[in-house]
């Protein structure tokens, strides 16, 4: 028995608060989802309902450890990063197969990684832009890099570099790679992936079925191959209330994305475990920092003192109480969720201090009755609550907050064009590394510092240097400096972090939603 595996199983059991009991095997887990998958493929998965399912069907060369931060062997039993940081060599486990029993070889790895780094195919190609070439010699894989890349090992444990069967793609009908992928997904079956499950049923918008891959290489606590389940049956139930009713009626075992308003009620239900899985989701509001607004008028928010004042005048605890019914915590790093690597704990980040806020506003000379527009998502109860709360919280500063309601794509377009004052936004990491979220929120060339127009040469320089910094300590230090600069400049209204709220029947244990959102069924069991 592998001691590390036992340790991680125990760690998992400890996280779930249940004793490590004798293994239940078999059974189907019934899972109510908020939205359906469209195409679960490592490189075409671009929506969360797709991305979060990739890992169940496709395995990666490396895996994230149980702590969510370290990297462990996956399909590759060993790996080595060259001293100059410009290549990675990996050795595949022996006897690896796809779920249909066909062998998984170096050729499949080369095919999968070439596909993943092809910018014409994958919108995630930029994440592994450092790869120069991938070659296989028997079970030895060599990945040559153009430049040293501190994130490369993490990327080899990320969904977009998961391994697909070259033979399945060669045989699939279709003129393009995407058509082939869609044909493979529509047909289902065990031939394409080597994950713990394979797709064995799919009705667009209604249901999806995963069946256990009997030849999966990882072993459970009982020494037999994972997964413990025979399969997972997903039902798409977009309405929150219906999804919970379905769980309460015993028709499903798990209901995900429970609205926070219902968490307390479901916690009290003895037949359920109300899980609040730690996540990398942050809720924040970008503030337009440009000297003038899009209409040419002067922008009061260009003054850093005003932005700081707004942050001090925002009572995060009250917001968390109102919106999350207590099931969340204030952001403690200005650039990332606490669960992200390299997050600095600055708690309290702009702790509530109305007097300080008023002083800053006076110092900035902001006229009483200054009108600021807060753009929210139409139909979002959370956003409506946030607006109402901020309107009251900021009124003592002499700010007249008005609301503008738009839908998702419109909000995205406004963010890019800079036609906003402040708007609600959220983020979940796709990658277990700080560089993705820091690039998004602060690095001006990446996304205009999340549309705010904020630009800081020191920050950008630190960020760019961190992209090739192979010394972990120096890289951590660079991210710490970036967080300090960013907190000071306050281009965001720093709000809160939310967990993934999932209601699970008592008959289920071992189901996990990772901080990145991925649904993990590998070690889940049902006992009925």
């Amino acid at each position: 028995m592998n001691t590390r595996r036992i340790a991680s199983a125990l760690a998992l059991a400890a996280v779930l608060g249940t004793p490590a009991a004798a293994q239940d095997r078999g059974g189907i887990l019934n899972f109510a989802r908020y939205d359906g998958s469209q195409l679960v493929d490592p490189i075409y998965a671009d929506r969360n309902p797709d991305i979060w399912m990739v890992g169940s069907l496709f395995d990666t060369l490396l895996r994230l450890g149980a702590d969510g931060k370290s990297v462990e062997p996956g399909l590759a039993e060993s790996y080595e990063l060259a001293a100059d940081g410009k290549s990675v060599t990996l050795k595949l486990r022996s006897g690896l197969t796809f779920a249909d029993g066909s062998p998984l070889t170096g050729a499949d790895v080369v095919f999968s990684l070439d596909r993943a780094r092809n910018g014409d195919l994958s919108s995630w190609a930029g994440l592994i832009g450092s790869i120069d070439s991938v070659a296989a010699d028997g079970d030895r894989i060599t990945i040559a890099l153009k430049t040293p890349d501190p994130t490369i090992l993490t990327m080899l444990a990320t969904f977009n570099t998961a391994i697909v069967s070259k033979a399945a793609f060669d045989a699939a009908p279709g003129a393009t790679d995407q058509e082939k992928s869609a044909a493979i997904f529509a047909k289902g079956g065990p031939g394409v992936g080597s994950g713990p499950f394979y797709l064995c049923g799919f009705e667009q918008g209604a249901t999806m079925d995963f069946c256990a891959n009997k030849g999966y290489w990882r072993q459970g606590a009982d020494g037999k191959p994972l997964p413990y389940l025979d399969g997972v049956h997903f039902q798409v139930i977009p309405d929150d209330a219906t999804r919970i009713l379905k769980l309460q009626a015993g028709e499903v075992d798990v209901a995900e994305f429970v609205p926070f308003a219902r968490v307390a009620e479901l916690k009290a239900d003895e037949k359920l475990n109300m899980e609040l899985f730690p996540s990398t989701r942050i809720i924040y509001s970008p503030i337009n920092v440009r000297a003038t607004r899009a209409d040419g008028s002067p922008n009061p928010l260009a003054d850093v003192r005003v932005r700081q004042a707004l942050n001090y005048a925002t009572d995060k605890a009250a917001l968390i109480g109102l919106v999350l019914h207590g099931a969340g915590k204030p952001m403690s790093s200005p650039l990332m969720a606490a669960a992200t690597q390299d997050a600095v704990n600055m708690d309290p980040l702009y702790g509530y201090d109305l007097e300080k806020a008023k002083a800053l506003i006076a110092e900035a000379g902001l006229p009483q009755g200054t009108k600021i527009t807060f753009t929210t998502l139409a139909g979002s109860a959370d956003d409506a609550t946030i607006f109402a709360a901020l309107q009251q919280m900021w009124a003592p500063l002499g700010i007249d907050l008005v609301v503008e309601q738009v839908d998702g794509p419109t909000r995205g377009a406004k963010n890019r064009s800079g036609e906003f004052d402040i708007h609600t936004y959220g983020w979940v990491n796709d990658v277990n590394d700080a560089s993705q979220v820091v690039g998004w929120l602060g690095h001006t060339p990446t996304a205009n510092a999340v549309g705010t127009g904020w630009e800081d040469a020191t920050f950008n320089g630190l960020y760019e240097a961190a992209q090739t910094e192979m010394d972990p300590a120096k890289r951590t230090d660079a991210f710490a400096q970036m967080q300090k600069i960013y907190a000071e400049a306050a281009p965001l209204l720093f709000m809160y972090e939310t967990p993934f709220a999932v209601a699970v029947s008592n008959e289920v244990s071992g189901y996990v939603q990772t901080p990145l959102g991925a649904n993990v069924f590998e070690e889940a069991t049902v006992s009925r």
């Binding site: 469209q38 195409l39 075409y44 671009d46 929506r47 919108s123 930029g126 995407q178 869609a182 529509a186 009705e203 667009q204 918008g205 209604a206 249901t207 039902q235 798409v236 139930i237 977009p238 309405d239 209330a241 219906t242 999804r243 009713l245 379905k246 309460q248 009626a249 028709e251 738009v406 839908d407 998702g408 794509p409 419109t410 909000r411 995205g412 377009a413 963010n415 890019r416 936004y425 796709d430 998004w440 990446t446 996304a447």
Partner: protein, 313 residues
């Protein structure tokens, strides 16, 4: 023969209608604020990604070129590729259409079964307590939002009493009669309120008509009078009403299918709009337009069958 010619003429008249519908669909979708490229690629996409998507979808072409492509492709039965589903839009729609058709017909049937007998009872007891009671109950049904009726039915009949499953869809006709009972009932409760009021009024009108008075005077049995004269004549306006409310029924499915997790075209429409899935929105709107036209035509045909005075000309 005459009615065949009538149908041909009606079909021909639909050509200009659809030409206008196509222009409106095309423009409406493009008037929606928000960039479909952002809807597709998500907020995290880079500007280069967005540019590539616009190029791939032809969103950079002039509007006239885009419209010409839309028109010619549609005439060839090609509604384009759904952005959201990453599959041909027509296939996606046809996959989901039977479910909505089933649900709608089920709801219409239920509402007639509920409203018909009660309308008769109310009309025959005009002004007395059964009439007042029936009208009061339906007034409540009419004034409640569809989603609320749905949630109430779900909570009590499905989650508590376990008489029906909580949402979802089954396989086969009979399983779905059970599975889709609650969503159909939700739509039916609302529709039957309208039908009941209308049918009651029509029955009263017919009961007062001279030919019914005459039939009574002739000594015909009340069963014969009600069946042959009253029902048939009163149904004419109800058929018209049902035909005209096809649009209402369709929009009812938007909400009902979401609440009850029924994978039909109603819910698909909502998903497509939120995702700015131009091809799918266009395809669905066109499908709805075809369905509404077909139902209007059918309504006219049934009307003329019920009432020979309405000559098909």
């Amino acid at each position: 023969m005459q009615s065949l010619a009538y149908i041909a003429k009606r079909l021909l008249l639909m050509v200009p209608t659809f030409a206008i519908v196509m222009v409106i669909i095309f423009l409406l979708v493009r008037l929606l604020p928000g960039d479909p490229a952002i809807a597709i690629a998500g907020d995290k996409a880079s500007d280069a990604d967005l540019a590539a998507i616009r190029e791939r979808l032809g969103l950079n072409e002039p509007l006239l070129v885009q419209f010409w492509l839309f028109l010619t492709n549609t005439l060839q039965g090609d509604l384009g590729r759904s952005i959201l589903m990453k599959a041909p839009a027509l296939g996606v729609i046809l996959d989901r259409l039977p479910t909505t058709a089933f649900l709608t017909l089920y709801a219409v049937t239920l509402s007639l079964l509920i409203a018909g007998p009660l309308a008769f009872v109310a009309a025959l007891n005009r002004g007395r307590w059964p009439d007042a009671a029936i009208r009061a109950v339906f007034q409540v049904g009419l004034s409640m939002p569809v989603f609320y009726i749905g949630l109430v039915l779900l909570t009590f009949l499905a989650a508590r009493a376990r008489l029906f499953p909580v949402g979802g869809i089954g396989h086969g006709f009979f399983e779905n009669l059970h599975q889709l009972f609650l969503p159909a009932m939700t739509i039916a409760l609302y529709t039957s309120a309208i039908v009941m009021r209308n049918l009651r009024a029509s029955i009263i009108e017919v009961l007062d008509a001279e030919y019914v008075q005459f039939a009574r005077a002739k000594g015909l049995s009340s069963r014969l009078i009600l069946g042959r004269h009253v029902l048939r004549n009163a149904l004419i306006s109800t058929v018209t009403l049902l035909g005209l409310s096809i649009g209402n029924l369709m929009s009812g499915t938007l909400v009902t299918e979401t609440v009850f997790a029924v994978p039909g075209v109603g819910r698909l429409m909502l998903e497509a709009i939120f995702a700015r899935d131009y091809p799918l929105i266009q395809g669905l709107t066109l499908t709805f337009a075809v369905l509404v036209s077909a139902v209007f035509l059918l309504t006219d045909l049934v009307q003329s069958w019920l009432d020979p005075r309405m000559r098909l000309t």
